[in-house]
C-alpha cells in the first residue's frame, strides 16, 4: 500500500525520532527508508512486548517514539502494553499491520481478522483503519489528534498476503 519513502516522510513530518519495530512482510519493507531518514532512528527489538517499554523509556527521555509492529505482535504485547499505556498512561502511538485483511490467499480464515480489532478495543486504543493509500492523511490527522490529547492511538494498516 505505502512505500517506505512515503512512511518515512510522514513520520519525519510528524516529528517521530525513533521507530521501535519488529517487521512483517509489509511493514518490514519500510525499515530501510526509515533507517535512512534524517533525524530518525530505527530500533529493532526481539519481541513486541519490548517495543512498548523501549518506547516508554524514549518518551521519558524526551524523544518522540512510535511503535511499528504486526497485529500478531500486538497480541504478544499484552502485559507490556497494559503497563505502558494504562499504568503509566504514556501517549505512545503505534502503527500496526493488519495481517490478511486485504487477502486471505496465504492464510485462509486467518484468525487475525477475528481478534485484531476486538483486542485494540479491549486495550482501549483508539485506532483508524487504513485500507488504501489515499488515507495517508488519516494517519497524519490521527497522530496529531492523539499527540494533542496526550493519549495513545494507533493506525491499523490493512495488509495483503501474509
Amino acid at each position: 500500500m505505502f512505500s517506505g519513502e512515503q512512511i518515512a516522510a510522514l513520520f519525519a513530518e510528524l516529528g517521530v525520532t525513533h521507530v521501535v519495530t519488529v517487521p512483517d512482510s509489509t511493514i518490514g519493507k519500510w525499515g530501510d527508508a526509515i533507517a535512512r531518514a534524517n533525524g530518525m532512528h530505527l530500533v529493532r527489538v526481539c519481541r513486541e512486548g519490548e517495543a512498548w517499554s523501549v518506547a516508554a523509556g524514549l518518551h521519558f527521555g524526551g524523544a518522540r517514539p512510535l511503535v511499528l509492529i504486526q497485529c500478531t505482535g500486538l497480541f504478544e504485547s499484552g502485559d507490556s502494553l497494559r503497563n505502558v499505556l494504562h499504568d503509566w498512561k504514556l501517549p505512545i502511538f503505534s502503527v500496526i499491520g493488519y495481517r490478511s485483511f486485504l487477502n486471505q490467499e496465504t492464510l485462509p480464515g486467518d484468525s487475525c481478522l477475528v481478534f485484531t480489532e476486538p483486542v485494540l478495543d479491549a486495550w482501549k486504543i483508539e485506532y483508524k483503519l487504513i485500507t488504501s493509500e489515499s488515507q495517508i492523511g488519516t494517519i497524519r490527522e490521527h497522530y496529531r489528534a492523539c499527540l494533542a490529547a496526550g493519549k495513545p492511538g494507533a493506525a491499523l494498516i490493512a495488509e495483503g498476503k501474509a
Partner: protein
C-alpha cells in the same frame, strides 16, 4: 546461582548507591525496587518501576539511554525478570549504548511470590546446573561483562566494572530475602511519570 553464601541484596545495592553520580538514572524493579526504596529518600532520577511489566526494566532503561546518550543509566533487574525478557540482551547489544549499565541480581528464585525456583536456577533444574547469565550476555554480544559472588569483591571492583565501556553487564549473586514481599508503588503513577520526565528534561545532557 543457588543463592547460598551469596551477598545481601541491600548491601549490593548500597555499593551502587556509593558509585551513583549526580545525573545518573537508576531504574529498579521488583526486589531491587523494594530494597532501593528502603535505603533512603528517592532521587528525582530514580525510576521505581512499580507497577511494572515483569522483565521490561532493561528495555525501559534502553529507551532512556538512547534518548539521552550523555547520561548514565543503571537498570537493576532480577534473574527471574531477566528470563522473561532475555531477548532484551540481544536488543541492547545491537544498539550498544555506551551509557547503559545492567545489573542482574541472581538469587535463583521468584522471591516476591514465595521463593519458588526459576527454571534457570540450579534448584529448578534436574541436572542441578544453573544457567550462567554472564555467559548468556557474552554470547549475546556484550563485551563488558562481570560477575561477583561476594560483597567485598563487588565493592572492590565496582568502580572499574561500572566504568567499563558500555553497555555493561554485571551479575551479582545475592541471597533471597526470607519472607520478602513485592514492592509497593511509592505514589500515583501518572504523577511519578510526569516528574521523572521533567527531571530528565531539566537535567538533560
Amino acid at each position: 546461582m543457588s543463592g547460598h553464601g551469596a551477598m545481601d541484596p541491600g548491601g549490593a545495592l548500597a555499593v551502587l548507591r556509593e558509585h551513583r553520580a549526580s545525573g545518573d538514572v537508576v531504574v529498579t524493579s521488583m526486589g531491587s525496587a523494594r530494597e532501593w526504596m528502603a535505603m533512603g529518600p528517592p532521587d528525582p532520577l530514580d525510576f521505581v518501576f512499580v507497577p511494572s511489566s515483569m522483565g521490561q526494566a532493561p528495555s525501559l532503561a534502553l529507551g532512556i539511554a538512547l534518548a539521552q546518550p550523555a547520561r548514565r543509566v543503571f537498570a537493576c533487574n532480577g534473574d527471574g525478570s531477566m528470563l522473561m525478557n532475555l531477548g532484551a540482551l540481544v536488543t541492547i547489544s545491537a544498539e550498544s549504548p555506551r551509557n547503559l549499565v545492567l545489573i542482574v541480581f541472581e538469587n535463583g528464585v521468584y522471591e516476591v511470590t514465595g521463593a519458588q525456583p526459576t527454571p534457570g536456577s540450579a534448584r529448578g533444574r534436574p541436572d542441578r546446573r544453573g544457567v550462567h547469565f554472564a555467559e548468556i550476555a557474552r554470547a549475546c554480544g556484550w563485551t563488558s561483562v562481570f560477575r561477583y559472588r561476594e560483597l567485598e569483591e563487588w565493592r572492590n571492583a565496582a568502580s572499574e566494572s561500572i566504568g567499563a565501556v558500555g553497555p555493561v553487564f554485571i551479575a551479582l549473586e545475592v541471597a533471597p530475602v526470607p519472607g520478602a514481599v513485592g514492592p509497593k508503588s511509592p505514589g500515583p503513577t501518572v504523577e511519578r511519570a510526569r516528574k521523572f520526565r521533567e527531571a530528565l528534561r531539566q537535567t538533560n545532557r
